[in-house]
């Protein structure tokens, strides 16, 4: 896990450490698919920057996570193994703790726009515009049974 990330943000060093531990547990790196974890430095920096406007909610979630770790395991969240960290995050997300939902959303937003991740999914890492995409026109003869059935609207 990287020790430091961007400093131009409102998160304290402790909050950053907890956040990194959390996002890396939620979306870990995968050797099988050749993808980084969400705690990859570039992705984590993106997460922190994106989370800036939501600092209060995210900081509240991080505090809750540390509190849960202390209550359940008498340990700092960052000292827990990855599986336990993921379980705590999942539990708090299921309990609809608002800040955790915000943080998970931001994590997914930043992770799934990373070039390496998009390539691993078979996507070209680019914006949709201006090139757009191809979609097959389809076979409109599928409509034949609908035509044969005839009118279904109510005339008044």
């Amino acid at each position: 896990m990287p020790a430091t990330i961007a400093t131009d943000n409102p998160f304290t060093a402790d909050e950053q450490r907890t956040l990194l531990a959390l996002v890396g547990a939620v979306i870990p790196a995968s050797a099988e698919f050749g993808t980084p974890g969400a705690d990859d430095p570039a992705i984590a920096a993106d997460i922190l920057a994106t989370a800036r406007p939501y600092h209060a909610a995210v900081a509240s979630a991080l505090s809750q996570i540390e509190s849960t770790a202390a209550t359940r395991y008498d340990a700092a969240y960052t000292d827990l193994d990855a599986a336990t960290r993921a379980t705590i995050a999942s539990d708090l997300s299921r309990s609809r703790f608002a800040g955790v939902g915000t943080l998970v959303t931001i994590t997914a937003q930043c992770y799934y726009r990373d070039d390496r991740v998009m390539r691993s999914l078979g996507m070209v890492p680019r914006s949709p515009y201006p090139d757009g995409f191809e979609v097959p026109r389809g076979d409109w003869s599928l409509l034949e049974p609908v035509r044969q059935r005839g009118r279904i609207y109510k005339e008044v």
Binding site: A25, V26, I27, P28, S30, E32, F33, T35, T50, P53, A82, A83, R85, A86, T87, A89, S90, S93, G101, V104, T105, I106, A108, Q109, C110, Y111, Y112, R113, M118, L121, M123, P125, R126, S127, P128, Y129, P130, D131, G132, F133, E134, V135, P136, R137, G138, D139, W140, L142, L143, P145, V146, R147, R149, G150, R151, I152, Y153, K154, E155, V156
Partner: protein, 532 residues
Amino acid sequence: MTDPVDVLIVGAGASGAAVAWSLAETRMRIVCLEQGDWMNPTEYPSAGRDWEARAFSDMSISPNRRKRETDYPVNDANSPISVANFNAVGGSTILYAGHFPRFHPSDFRVRTLDGVADDWPIDYRTLEPYYAENDRMMGVSGLAGDPAYPPKASVMPPVPLGRAGTAIAKGFNELGWHWWPSDTAIATETYDGRDKCINLGACSSGCAQGAKASTDITYWPHAVRAGVEVRTRCRVREITTNGNGMASGVVYFDRDGVERFQPAEVVIVACNGVGTPRLLLNSTSGRFPDGIANTSGLVGKNLMFHPYASIQGIFDEPLDGYRGPGVCIWSQEFYETDPSRGFVRGYTYEINRGRGPVATALTGMFSGRIPFGEGHHEAYRQLFSRIAGMVGICEDLPEEHNTVTLDPELTDGHGIPAPKIDYTLSENSRRMLDHAVARATEVLTAAGAKDVITEAPIGVGGWHLMGTARMGTDPERSVVNDWGRSHDVKNLFIVDGSIFVTSAGVNPTRTIQALALYIADSMKKRLADLFD
């Protein structure tokens, strides 16, 4: 005070644009005040790598999340469905999906047919020529011959069926149920200066290509060329009246925050089913202590959303995913009333093509189908480009206890009271939603889905805002007459979805615009005695 104008339109969205364009041929001096900006399509999310994330921030459908300077807050804490809108030239057409059905003949006669709500004072035949005119102005794509509708022409070929549309169409065929290519406000060919759709997949965050028919690129360029003036960043606080009880103009805040009075011979309100009652209720005077045009007491009452059910299937094979317009086909198998179903009226299925990589992750993680931690990536790949389904758009019947009022505390950036929503989902709607979920699950299963994810109602799905200044012939039971003029104030007109008597079970924009054109035409035919 600024120079008087002949016609003042408040709001530059779907209906304001249509009425402005239609009235422009009169050569009257017409000004439109819009609280938002002209949008720059090159700055829409699909032009950037963060296109999905921006749907959660500055291009969110929720004004409370978006919080642009041009937005006003909405207190919808007392509603299971929150309000969606957008404030700009083009209004909510900037963010709509472009799903563009018409009402049906039966939708205007629900009291006669089903003994509920009220009949409209006009009918399908009245609006038919205005639907056609609006189709030409907006540029509608579709396929003629839909057996769920009276005959209607199509301007352009339909959007592609794609893999998702094909799979789900086969599911409908398996069950012998209706489906048809959706009418869409999306250009599939170059049309009226707009380029054709290139399947960006982000229609609901603004169309950078300009293929989707938002009114800033359809009606407004024509209206402006014909002499209509649009003033942006102008937020109207109230409509004023003179000693004769006629509207004398409006008080508004200009882009510098300066309070101004704009006198006008005619005032047309086009602020949607929440913004319009907010403005009317905020326009009090000695003659109208409960708000202008509110002698009936019905301004702000009978708020209708369309309760939405979301039913999404997970398929084995890759479908369209993030590619293509979100809309493709519809089904109106369950549109007309069938008493055996346990509810009156019905709904439309709007089939959704797929979703992007971020939305896939969030759908999976928040529904428990993608685990946190170990197994995340493998589970994700079981969903990516493999989700497709539909939403059920349920007809919402008018009930007076569903209201828009003025919040006693919350205000916008200019200190104008914000709208407060009080809304309860009816038992009829609940049963309809349940039916929509059950039948769609059958369709998706027949189409090959191995799992189904549902949500009903969609909590953030208050896209359609209707009924809060209803039209009718009885001044005690309606706010405007059968051509949009206030019963109380004879130079005040309303042209947006607030004048709907009932909501039908379809997206309302095409009907809102047809109504605006019809009202404009009614005004033009009566110019000599407009206020009699």
